[in-house]
């Protein structure tokens, strides 16, 4: 036995085995977050429980390991628990992206019994005033915290996820304290994305570069300063190979963010046929290599920061042309890495050691 996750992921990438899947169970949501990517809060269009369970059977056969149930608010789907329980019966690692406000005692019991790998809860501020102003729902902060506490009481793994915005960036310290008080890991996301209908309106709530710098520097995003190593001909990301997403109407996409064109619809064709035969999927996978090579050739800060071509596509119309927010984050990360390297070299010199290489510094 070994920790085979990295090797398995690499092999799955080569085989185009969609290990990680997101299912957007419903567009409906009981919150109205001002920066949300989803413009269809009111839309009740959705696949039925039976249709989602048929999808789960196909995903099992396709080789999926992790299924994330998302929305909208996934618990707003009337058959949420039937779908979640079916996912666990099929041995998927289950992630639930929720605002937690609909998690009463009964729901918390049923979630704990699944069990999920993690429940990832969106919290938009450290105080009710800031949070509820972002969600446009009075009482949403208290409802979310009550849901989290019910999950905590049952030993469910919970991750507090906070998109940093112009509305809450003054509360970073308080959000760290809130996560500590709730005994939760905290992930602050510096990305605000355009809406799925192409509107750039959410970007007006993007956090200031100073706040983004603070998040990256403190490792509040995805841990240590994000970096990526590229080799010519490699893939930028798992789009079209490792990832797959299905929206509430059954449209299949090579990634949740990449909604340029669906691979097809599960109501019309078997998912396995769509995945293996689709030119859209193949083109997305090839695009990932093109993007990787373009960034590698460009060099500098943008070549070393994890890049999402879907977000670039939404803003610039070209997946190889980085969006403004990415450029800012990449520059900040490069500066912070350089400062860390200078600090490490100075410490090593003081201790009489050879300075660590850039790569080894970034990997630790």
């Amino acid at each position: 036995m070994s920790d085979g996750s990295y090797r398995s992921k690499l092999r799955a990438l080569q085989l185009a085995q969609p290990l990680t899947v997101q299912l957007e169970l419903t567009y409906a949501c009981n919150w109205r977050c001002v920066f949300c990517y989803n413009p269809r809060h009111f839309d009740r269009t959705r696949l039925s429980g039976d249709e989602w369970i048929a999808v789960l059977d196909e995903l099992r056969a396709l080789g999926t390991l992790t299924v994330a149930l998302t929305g909208g608010e996934p618990l707003a789907h009337p058959e949420f628990f039937r779908i979640a329980e079916a996912a666990r019966v099929r041995a998927f690692a289950l992630r639930i992206f929720t605002n937690a406000s609909l998690i009463d005692d009964e729901a918390a019991d049923r979630i704990a019994a699944l069990p999920p790998l993690c429940v990832e809860v969106s919290i938009h501020g450290a105080t009710a005033a800031v949070h509820d102003a972002a969600t446009k729902r009075e009482g949403s902060f208290d409802a979310a915290l009550a849901g989290i506490e019910r999950l905590n009481a049952r030993g469910v793994a919970v991750l507090m996820k906070t998109p940093i915005t112009s509305l809450n960036e003054h509360e970073i310290d308080e959000m760290i304290a809130l996560a500590e008080r709730l005994d939760l890991p905290l992930q602050i996301d510096p990305h605000i994305t355009p809406r799925d209908d192409g509107s750039l309106e959410p970007l007006q709530y993007a956090a200031s570069p100073a706040a983004v710098r603070r998040v990256i520097d403190a490792g509040l995003g995805s841990g240590s300063i994000p970096s990526t190593e590229r080799t010519k001909g490699g893939a930028n990301c798992g789009i079209g190979r490792l990832t797959l997403a299905i929206d509430a109407e059954g449209n299949v996409f090579p990634c949740m963010q990449w909604r340029v064109k669906p691979i097809g619809n599960v109501r019309d064709s078997a998912l396995r046929e769509l995945w293996h035969a689709s030119d859209v999927r193949r083109e997305a996978a090839e695009m990932s290599v093109t993007v990787n090579d373009a960034l590698l050739e460009a060099g500098g800060a943008i070549a070393t920061y994890p890049f999402c071509p879907a977000l670039a596509m939404q803003e610039t119309g070209d997946p190889t042309v980085p969006d403004r927010a990415f450029r800012i984050r990449a520059e900040i990360a490069a500066e912070l890495r350089e400062a860390a390297n200078v600090g490490a070299a100075a410490s090593a010199a003081q201790a009489g050691e050879a300075p660590a290489s850039t790569v080894s510094t970034l990997n630790t």
Partner: protein, 91 residues
């Protein structure tokens, strides 16, 4: 013992090798092809003798070696709570 996959486990096969997620800890382990074969035999109805018999037939090893290796593997997985005894799980 009649092994059954534990309630806190997620798993999938990638290129003939099982990847197993312990949902209680979030940790992931990978099995080699032999371990994956044993894992695929676990259905909550076959006991360790039956699984060892399948291992002996699949890998052309003596029944004694198959039984010893299979028990060691099952005990290791049981100790990590990745497997439970089907009889205990029913009670």
């Amino acid at each position: 013992m009649t092994p059954k996959i534990g309630p806190n486990v997620a798993w999938q096969i990638v290129d003939g090798e099982a990847i197993i997620v312990d949902l209680a800890s979030g940790s992931t382990i990978g099995l080699n092809p032999a371990g994956t074969f044993v894992w695929s035999q676990i259905d909550g109805s076959r006991d360790d003798d039956a699984i060892a018999g399948a291992v002996a037939a699949e890998f052309d090893v003596s029944p004694e070696i198959a039984a010893s290796d299979t028990r060691e593997f099952l005990q290791s997985m049981h100790a990590r709570a990745l497997l439970v005894d089907a009889a205990e799980a029913r009670t």
